[in-house]
């Protein structure tokens, strides 16, 4: 059992990371940066998982982190492939340049 203060700080940090990631997703215009911000959000979540796992004394949270990391790796691979495709079609990586879904 760790000291409650440690869990408190760890969760606070993960919240900050998640918030930074979210803000980045909404505010940055470069697609690669947006992808990196998504990674930041995922890692913020990972940190919370690990902290809660230590606090609860079980391994469940840590196992879940591995899953998240695998998904994050796959997402990065697919995401970068999409980025290359986007760049080839429009010669830009500005997210606002892609609005084909407009109704």
């Amino acid at each position: 059992m760790e000291h409650p203060a440690f869990v408190h700080h760890a969760v606070l940090l993960s919240l900050v990371l998640f918030g930074l990631g979210t803000l980045g997703v909404f505010l940055r215009r470069n697609v690669i940066t947006v992808l990196m911000c998504v990674e930041l959000m995922l890692n913020g979540v990972n940190l919370a998982f690990v902290a809660f796992s230590r606090a609860a004394g079980t391994l469940d949270g840590q196992v879940l982190v591995f899953f998240v990391m695998v998904v994050a790796a796959a997402e990065a691979a697919v995401g970068l492939a999409i980025v290359i495709a986007l760049h080839r079609t429009k010669d830009t990586l500005d997210v606002d340049a892609f609005d084909l879904m407009k109704g």
Binding site: F26, V95, D99, M101, G103
Partner: protein, 640 residues
């Protein structure tokens, strides 16, 4: 001693499948058989299958009689190939036939008369370019008709029933390039649908009452049902009346008789085979086959008898004023079918089948004879342009004379015996009015047939010198069947069909009646009818003119055929066509159905127009919505 063998299971199916095989071969390889226009190969093949079928039917009949005389005392056999046609829950229809004396009589009539008509068609259709199509239809018809009379249960009978209706349609409209022919085919088909609806509903009621549609089951169990008195509307009465609606359609009884006279648009052999000898008698066969059931319902019996008698009289009066030789015979057929239903309605089911059997001979003979006349006249059908043909086509004349005397009921020809028994049945059953009608109709029958005979064969030729020069006797392929049918018409009455058929029906025994004066009176009515026609048409034509002016109102009614066609026409035009046009099409279809479909589409498109700005196409807006959704969900889970 004969025992039931595999042969008895297979032979009846062979009878059925021969004509079907002929049809399939002609339909698939017809063009290959038909090398040139005059080649008659298709006709020979069609004749061969039907003649072979007749041979097998005779063999089957002989075997059945051997089995009936044998130690097992078999009354019938139900050939069954071991599989079901329909199996759904408790409802099963095995693919089985029924061979008993009744179906044997029908089988022999269908294949026997049918074979003669096939042979006749060889000559009659010799110059037609579409012989292959014609003979394939004839073979298909023979198959369906055999299925109808041999079917072991009502659904199988119904398949044959619909099949002959189809073939009737195809053959009436055989010369489809003539508008009147295709219209007549359509009329026959549509009118028959009305009757068939009744037949299907009747089967439903029978299944409800018996839990089975097997003909043997129905005959066995009908006696155990409670008899229903006059005007008592039990299930048996309703079932019988519905089935009778089907019978009136197929057998051209009032009020569904209107299609048969128009059916004369088909080639004459078709009129002889389908619209005189076999198909139109299917209704009589149905009523006779279900005789035990009809016997339980007084109402149904009365309706059958009255319909038959009234039809016989009305059709007889219309026949008197027709000028087309085939239309006289068509109305005569309607009238004779009325006689058969009268017999069935007074409880003499065996006699109905007897008249069916004799009628098949003499009416086929008369139709084929009229075909020979039309052939001789190069297609002319109006009797007013004939006359004096007796010397020019003697074979046709003499055979036609036999047929006329047979239908007029002159002893000892076939018609005398069966008509006499019908009159006897009506008399002993106590329906005096119906007996009177029937006796008068017998006189009418003799009169209109004698009129036809005198107009066609006696007096002076009225068709002009050109037509007179062309008159020629028909080839032997046509005269041979005429002679054989004339022999049949003369001798068929000596086979006592009622004694053969009635045990099948398992009705309670009734004492045999004899009314000594009846044969004399019946003969007298026939002779009187012929004499009246003789006086009016040969001896004293002046008298005819004055009589015609005296009877003008009545003759006008006859000539208008009691306005049945006009009433139906008005009904169809006003109610069906008019109602469809103004109400069903313009209101219901265009208004309600199209309106609701278009309304839904319009609503959807309107809403879509309102909602489409939500889709901005920017990724961050979608991401924002996802985040908002996630926050809302988590908040709900945390604080609810």
């Amino acid at each position: 001693m004969l025992e039931l063998q595999t042969l008895d299971m297979v032979l009846p199916f062979a009878i059925l499948l021969l004509p079907l095989g002929g049809f399939v071969v002609l339909a698939l390889f017809g063009d290959w058989i038909k090398k040139d226009k005059e080649d008659a190969g298709a006709g020979y093949l069609a004749c061969a299958t039907v003649i072979a079928s007749f041979g097998l039917a005779a063999w089957t009949t002989a075997r059945l009689y051997g089995l009936m005389a044998g130690p097992s005392g078999l009354r019938f056999s139900q050939p069954y190939l071991g599989f079901e046609w329909i199996e759904a829950g408790g409802f099963r229809v095995p693919l089985s036939l029924l061979v008993d004396p009744l179906s044997c009589v029908m089988m022999l009539v269908v294949t026997g008369v049918g074979a003669l008509i096939h042979v006749y068609s060889l000559g009659y259709m010799a110059h037609d370019e579409e012989k292959v199509r014609f003979f394939s239809y004839l073979n298909l018809f023979t198959f369906f008709m055999l299925l109808l009379v041999m079917g072991g249960s009502l659904p199988i009978l119904f398949v044959g029933w619909e099949g002959v209706g189809l073939c009737s349609y195809l053959l009436i409209g055989f010369w489809y390039k003539r508008n009147s022919a295709s219209a007549a085919g359509l009329k026959a088909f549509v009118v028959n649908r009305v009757g068939d609806a009744g037949l299907i509903l009747g089967m439903v009621f029978i299944y409800h009452a018996f839990g089975s549609l097997d003909l043997v089951d129905i005959a066995d169990n009908a006696g155990s049902l409670a008899p229903e008195a006059l005007w008592q509307w039990g299930p048996v009465t309703i079932a019988c009346l519905l089935l009778f609606v089907g019978a009136t359609g197929k057998s051209a009884q009032i009020p569904l008789h209107v299609w048969l006279p128009d059916a004369m648009e088909g080639p004459t052999p078709v009129s002889a085979l389908i619209h005189a000898a076999t198909m139109v008698t299917a209704g009589v066969y149905l009523v006779a086959r279900l005789g035990p059931l009809y016997h339980q319902s007084e109402t149904a019996m009365l309706v059958v008898a009255v319909t038959g008698a009234v039809t016989a009289l009305m059709a007889g009066t219309i026949a008197i004023v027709q000028t087309d030789i085939k239309r006289v015979l068509a109305y005569s057929t309607v009238s004779q079918l009325g006689f058969m239903f009268l017999a069935a309605g007074v409880g003499a089911f065996g006699v109905a089948v007897f008249h069916l059997y004799t009628h098949a001979f003499f009416k086929a003979l008369l139709f084929l004879g009229s075909g020979s006349v039309i052939h001789a006249m190069s297609g002319e059908q109006d009797m007013r342009r004939m006359g004096g043909l007796r010397k020019k086509i003697p074979w046709t004349f003499w055979t036609f004379l036999v047929g006329t005397l047979a239908i007029a009921g002159i002893p000892p020809l076939a018609g005398f015996f069966s008509k006499d028994e019908i009159l006897l049945g009506a008399l002993v059953s106590g329906h005096t009015v119906l007996f009177g009608l029937a006796l008068f109709t017998a006189l009418l029958t003799a009169a209109y047939m004698a009129r036809l005979l005198f107009l066609t064969f006696f007096g002076e030729f009225r068709g002009g010198p050109d037509a007179e020069h062309h008159v020629h006797e028909s080839p032997w392929s046509m005269l041979g069947p005429l002679v054989l049918l004339a022999i049949g018409s003369a001798g068929a009455g000596f086979v006592k069909i009622p004694h053969i058929v009635e045990p099948v029906l398992r009705l309670p025994e009734t004492a045999a009646h004899h009314v000594a004066w009846l044969p004399a009176v019946a003969t007298l009515s026939g002779v009187l009818g012929i004499l009246i026609a003789w006086y009016l048409y040969l001896s004293m034509p002046d008298l005819r003119a004055s009589l015609a002016s005296a009877l003008r109102p009545a003759l006008r009614v006859f000539a208008a055929k009691y306005w049945f066609d006009d009433v139906y026409d008005a009904f169809v035009r006003r109610v069906v066509v008019g109602g469809s046009d103004t109400l069903l099409w313009k209101r219901v279809d265009a208004g309600v159905i199209d309106g609701s479909v278009n309304g839904i589409a319009r609503a959807v498109s309107g809403w879509a127009e309102t909602l489409r700005p939500v889709q901005t196409g920017f990724v961050r807006h979608y991401a924002l919505l996802i985040l908002a959704g996630a926050v809302a969900l988590v908040s709900y889970l945390l604080w609810s």
